[in-house]
């Protein structure tokens, strides 16, 4: 086994009394696409900023590509790409000018590489558009291009898809897979559950703590030990009230046109009877699959 691309041990960052990142430990191996899931303010961005040497850790240590993030941050920076939450684009420059500028900053003077990057992120044809006139989806692509222009081996993407429409999001993930296939390791933060499903491994973060990190399948298996039931009943709200009172239910929640019940003890018949007794018309009760949302909510409790 080669060294992990990212190695984090007891990494901690405090802002005054507030602990933004609380003794986290994880590793990321070469070629992986690792998701970092958590609500806003859970410490995802702070973690990435420490790995890039933008913020000093208060405690613990971390290496990126074998380089210490505190003492060798310049070595790290030259080899990684970073796409920040705020797309770091100059509004008053064109697409090409933005990319040429960042390329130049990385010491890339070869025009071919710039054009290549434009093609890679699908911005050909928009070279001379002022970026303030671009849609969010296009700006996102340019931002990725900026992170990629120097062919990094590791890519940090901080909420790359926030504010982008679903089609553009899907296209963006296709691009991420393409990059991963070419050997780039990717650490991507998100608060979208569906996006986390796309990752090979997912870390779940809350209040500065890394609650778990594993493949989505393993997470579901290990965290959601009960059964998942999908209850189609009418009226739904009253059904929810009734099931919430039922002993042995781990969690029950509304999910569109049905109720989602997680429990390891309750049987289908028990629910059926209870609902009918309360004058709730039960259409059907089915077994469901656990989702990352279930995992997240279970962990967050």
């Amino acid at each position: 086994m080669s060294l992990p691309v990212i190695y984090v041990e007891n990494l901690t960052r405090r802002f005054g009394d507030f602990v933004a990142v609380d003794h986290i430990n994880f590793e990321v191996n070469e070629g992986e696409v690792v998701g970092y899931l958590g609500p806003n303010g859970s410490g995802k961005t702070t973690t990435i900023r420490m790995l890039l040497g933008l913020l000093m850790p208060s405690e613990g240590e971390a290496t990126v590509l074998g380089y210490d993030v505190v003492r060798q941050s310049e070595e790290v920076r030259a080899r990684v790409g970073y796409m920040s939450q705020k797309f770091a684009i100059y509004d008053d420059l064109t697409t090409l000018e933005n990319l040429t500028f960042y390329g130049g900053v990385y010491g890339i003077t070869d025009k071919k590489r710039i054009i290549e990057t434009l093609e890679l992120v699908g911005l050909t044809g928009h070279e001379h558009t002022l970026t303030r006139d671009l849609s969010t989806g296009w700006r996102q692509r340019l931002s990725l291009g900026i992170a990629l222009v120097h062919k990094p081996k590791l890519l940090f993407l901080d909420e790359p898809t926030s504010g982008v429409d679903p089609t553009a999001r899907r296209a963006f993930w296709d691009l991420i897979y393409e990059l991963a296939a070419s050997g780039v390791t990717i650490l991507v933060t998100t608060h979208y559950m569906d996006e986390a499903e796309y990752c090979e491994r997912v870390g779940v973060m809350r209040d500065g703590k890394l609650l778990a990190m594993d493949t989505p399948t393993n997470l579901k298996k290990s965290i959601i030990t009960g059964n998942v039931w999908e209850v189609f009943a009418h009226p739904l709200e009253q059904g929810l009230d009734v099931l919430q009172e039922l002993e042995g239910v781990d969690r029950v929640g509304l999910a569109g046109d049905h109720l989602r019940v997680i429990s390891s003890q309750i049987q289908q018949e028990t629910m059926q009877k209870l609902l009918s007794k309360n004058n709730i018309q039960v259409e059907r009760i089915e077994r469901g699959e656990p989702t990352l949302e279930d995992v997240f909510l279970a962990l967050a409790r």
């Binding site: 933008l54 913020l55 920076r77 939450q85 770091a88 420059l93 500028f101 010491g107 003077t109």
Partner: protein, 375 residues
């Protein structure tokens, strides 16, 4: 390294050229300031409105009035006959000065004890002060003339009553034209304003937009980022210097007696100080607005304590000490001396040393605060 620096400079120029407001500020502000300070803010005193109460009505008194007329500083607009009259005229602002010639002026003059009184409206200190000294000058030179005439008349030797000898000589700017004094000042002010303000806001803008975070994660070095960001503004500052010099020289007739190369060299020294202040301000401010306010806070003391309008020697001691840490103060001495006196480097030694120290200190302080980190 060259590619990184050039990239920043090129990007900065594209941004400047694409922002019409900044461009207008850079090109038009110096012109506006020049014309404002060259014309409106003039302290030249001409044609002060004056009333005369001639109680003597003699040939001698008329001769004195002629002396005032010839000098052009006063315009005799009213001939009056009482104290109430000039009081009313001064109060209503119609006149700024009243000359009162006593009834026995001619007799007294022969005795050599003639006295006239001049009442001045001192509510505008500049005009009042100038009028007072001018009137004294006229009086003295006239007295000298009379004395020498009398001496000639009586056939006595000049040694008996030496004529009052007031030889006032004003060097460099003999007509005390305000523009000569103001134009070099405008150069200093504009250089300071353009470089400090634009540098501060250009750096803070990167922070506001979040691009600084992206720049920090690139291999760019802090000094490359700093130099690349401020060099374009330094170049613009030189264009402004040239613009002011050209307009000042050909429109306002301000002399350029010193070596032009030296003007630019020492202006460069001053620009480094201003850039340092702008850079330092950018490390304090988080938004462009804060940057603007921070620079403005340094702007007012710079203007008022640098000797731009008011002589430093006339300030209370405490403010004189404060003015010692204002770089514009030294630059104003330098630029005025270079343009008006045409001195060389040797005469400006102290100012050059002071500016150099300031430049090193402020740049060092800014560089220490300007780290490639977010916290």
């Amino acid at each position: 390294m060259r590619s990184r620096l050039l990239s920043i400079i090129r990007k900065e120029f594209i941004q400047i050229l694409r922002d019409p407001r900044t461009l207008v500020l850079i090109i038009l502000m110096p012109i506006m300031q020049l014309f404002l300070l060259g014309y409106a803010a003039t302290t030249d005193v001409k044609n002060i409105s004056m009333a005369v109460w001639d109680q003597s009505h003699t040939q001698q008194s008329r001769a004195l009035l002629d002396a005032f007329r010839v000098a052009n500083y006063f315009s005799i607009d009213y001939m009056i006959g009482s104290e109430d009259e000039y009081r009313t005229l001064i109060e209503s602002g119609k006149i700024r000065a009243a000359l009162i010639i006593p009834p026995d002026y001619d007799i007294r003059l022969l005795e050599g004890k003639a006295q006239v009184s001049l009442v001045l409206d001192g509510s505008d200190a500049t005009v009042g002060g100038t009028a007072l000294s001018v009137a004294k000058l006229i009086g003295q030179s006239y007295a000298t003339k009379i004395l020498s005439e009398q001496t000639a008349l009586t056939g006595r030797q000049a040694a008996f009553a030496p004529p009052l000898d007031v030889r006032t000589q004003v060097w460099y700017n003999p007509d005390l034209i305000a523009a000569y004094f103001n134009v070099p000042g405008v150069i200093g002010m504009i250089l300071y304003f353009i470089t400090a303000l634009l540098t501060a806001s250009a750096v803070v803008r990167e922070r506001e937009r979040g691009t600084i975070e992206q720049l920090i994660v690139t291999p760019i070095r802090s000094w490359e980022l700093v130099v690349g960001k401020i060099l374009p503004y330094a170049i613009l500052a030189f264009i402004d210097t040239l613009e002011i010099l050209v307009i000042g020289h050909w429109w306002f007739g301000v002399p350029v007696r010193g070596h032009v190369g030296l003007v630019f060299l020492l202006s460069g020294l001053f620009v480094i100080s201003s850039l340092g202040i702008g850079l330092f301000a950018s490390t304090i401010a988080n938004t462009q607005q804060e940057a603007f306010i921070t620079v403005m806070i340094t702007m007012l003391p710079s203007i008022f304590l640098s000797g731009f309008f008011f002589p430093i020697a006339a300030m209370p001691e405490f403010l004189q000490w404060v003015s010692a840490i204002i770089p514009l103060r030294y630059y104003l001495v330098i630029i005025r001396a270079l343009l008006l006196k045409g001195v060389g480097l040797a005469a400006l030694q102290n100012e050059v040393i002071a500016l150099s120290i300031f430049a090193v200190v402020i740049m060092g302080a800014a560089a220490l605060r300007f780290k490639k980190r977010l916290d």
